[in-house]
Amino acid sequence: MTKPHLELTGVEMAFDTPKGSFVALDNINLKIKKGEFVSLIGHSGCGKSTVLNIVAGLLQASKGGCILDGHEINAPGPERAVVFQNHALMPWLTVYENVELAVQQVFRKTLTKQERRSWIHHNLELVNMAHAANKRPGEISGGMAQRVGIARALAMKPSVLLMDEPFGALDALTRAHLQDSLMSIQQDLNNTVIMITHDVDEAVLLSDRIIMMTNGPAAAVGEDLYINLERPRNRVTLADDPTYVHYRQEVLKFLYEKQRKLENIAPHRNKKATSATTNPSAQTAKI
């Protein structure tokens, strides 16, 4: 048996809160192959982002660990590029400069200035954003900014691309358009992708595999569904495809029957979730 590309073993995450320890994740085990497109789906607050942040190295697991290509992950790095939900572009840099910041950092020693420049342009063209290279993030739409965020991540030549609800903040049409772009890019580059999503259609359409997570606290992997659909996939023809509909139903059943979340309607539920994340502005307001 070959070693897995990315492996999470017994990952547990506990946050310290004033009311004691809050266990967000409990014993997560995952093996991901190279080039696999994996979606994490689950109700909000189930710890999807925590899993992604642990793989990114932005958070340290309380127990267990994460191994990528034989190396343990204990810090963030460009080989695990992250696409954030709200593009996270530097507002004072142009589109080109934002990608340049990443390329400069990763390929400073290995590429010449000329090569770096064409690599930046190549990645902007990949997401159809070369025309706006000299615009600031404030001057382009949210969908365009998200494309640039993807270009910046791809430009790092990551072995794993981590996406935290990358299309969550976009309108439905822009989202569909970007999903198609992402599918074709992924088919060309064959990156390993881990994507968090709330959207069942998005998960089934894009993924090779959907990891469904149980509700927190102490969330774990509930079901692991492989999507055996031919690529390239077409959203219009798939809409009638019985296999597609079946997969879709599997996920819906998991989310709305097995992991029904009635208490989500009660407002006090949200308090617990926000208390774990500290508010940085509260710290600074005092001075």
Binding site: P76, G77, P78, A88, W92, L93, P280, I287
Partner: protein, 331 residues
């Protein structure tokens, strides 16, 4: 019919265009007029009120000066400045001529030119004040911005230093001044001093009082960088310096500039007070000297100085605004 209609419709269109462009210009003019008109009305009402109220106030130096007297004295101050310059120029040319004569007789003779010993004029005092305030403000910025970055990046250090900031921030320049004066005269001992002691005293007082807004704002701005951008920096494994240069500083530039503008305003206010009390050259000393002088024109001259101080403060703030617009990305 069509031949008849064509030229007439053309002229009509032309005429219409002309009316349109005229109207556009008129609209633009009224817009600009409105922007200028209200401030002008405000100033005129103030001048009228001042003109009527001033003669009602009697002091031991005569009645309080109205706008007319202040305007006359401003002209007077300018004339004095020109006269003084002329005398200074004459003084120097006289020496040059004398030196030329001496050199003609004996090429090896040592000659030198002495500076004009006359008292500084109002405009000289303004120049001195501007140099002092800029020096104090630049020193304050050089201290406050790096310190603010360090405090903003390190929450523990900030917690340790914050009480000190809160205690020193409200201290009046007049309280600092005696201490600064004594320390400067005790420590700055040199046979060939590069700076006047009085200059150093005022400058350091300005620095001590004006660095706080910049320090606090820099700390707040640095601590409030968008967490997503911090994560980007971590994923990219930016070094500490690149992180500060490429992420932290640009992100906090707008709020730092707000602090700098407040600091410069404070620096200018503090400087006048410091100069008055420390008897160091500058606008503050001009005001104090006129007050001690107590002639019938003193009050008008002080009022002229007050207006000049206000106007310069306004111009300094505008200059900062222009620089901010050039540098900050969100403008």
């Amino acid at each position: 019919m069509s031949t008849l209609l064509n030229p007439s419709s053309e002229t009509r269109i032309r005429g219409g265009l002309k009316v349109l462009t005229d109207r556009f210009n008129v609209a633009e003019l009224t817009q600009a007029g409105k922007q200028l008109l209200l401030p002008m009305v405000g100033i005129l009402i103030f001048l009228g009120f001042w003109h009527l109220a001033a003669p009602q106030v009697n002091t031991s130096l005569g009645t309080f000066p109205g706008p007319v007297q202040v305007w006359e004295q401003s002209g007077q101050l300018w004339q004095e400045h020109l006269n003084q310059r002329e005398r200074a120029d004459k003084f120097v040319t006289m020496q040059e001529e004398r030196n030329a004569r001496i050199l003609a007789e004996d090429p090896n003779a040592k000659v030198k030119i002495r500076g004009y010993p006359g008292a500084p004029t109002f405009l000289d005092q303004i120049a001195t004040s501007l140099v002092t305030v800029m020096a104090g403000f630049l020193l304050a910025t050089a201290i406050a911005v790096p310190l603010g970055i360090v405090l903003g990046l390190n929450r523990h250090l900030q917690a340790a230093i914050n009480p000190l900031i809160q205690i020193f921030k409200p201290v009046s320049p007049l309280a600092w001044l005696p201490l600064v004066t004594m320390v400067v005269s005790a420590t700055y001992v040199s046979d060939d001093p590069m700076f006047e002691k009085s200059f150093l005293t005022s400058m350091i007082t300005v620095t001590l009082c004006s660095l706080w807004p910049t320090l606090i704002n820099t700390g707040v701005g640095v601590a409030a960088v968008n967490p997503d951008l911090l994560n980007v920096s971590r994923v990219l494994q930016l070094s500490f310096w690149t992180h500060v240069r490429k992420v932290v500083l640009p992100s906090s530039i707008p709020i730092i500039f707000t602090g700098l503008r407040v600091s410069l305003g404070i620096a200018w206010m503090v400087l006048i007070a410091a100069e008055m009390l420390a008897q160091s050259p500058g606008l503050g000393k001009f005001v104090w000297d006129e007050f001690q002088n107590g002639s019938s024109q003193s009050l008008s001259r002080i009022m002229a100085a007050v207006l000049a101080i206000g106007f310069i403060g306004f111009v300094l703030d505008r200059i900062m605004l222009v620089i901010q617009k050039k540098i900050a990305w969100n403008e």
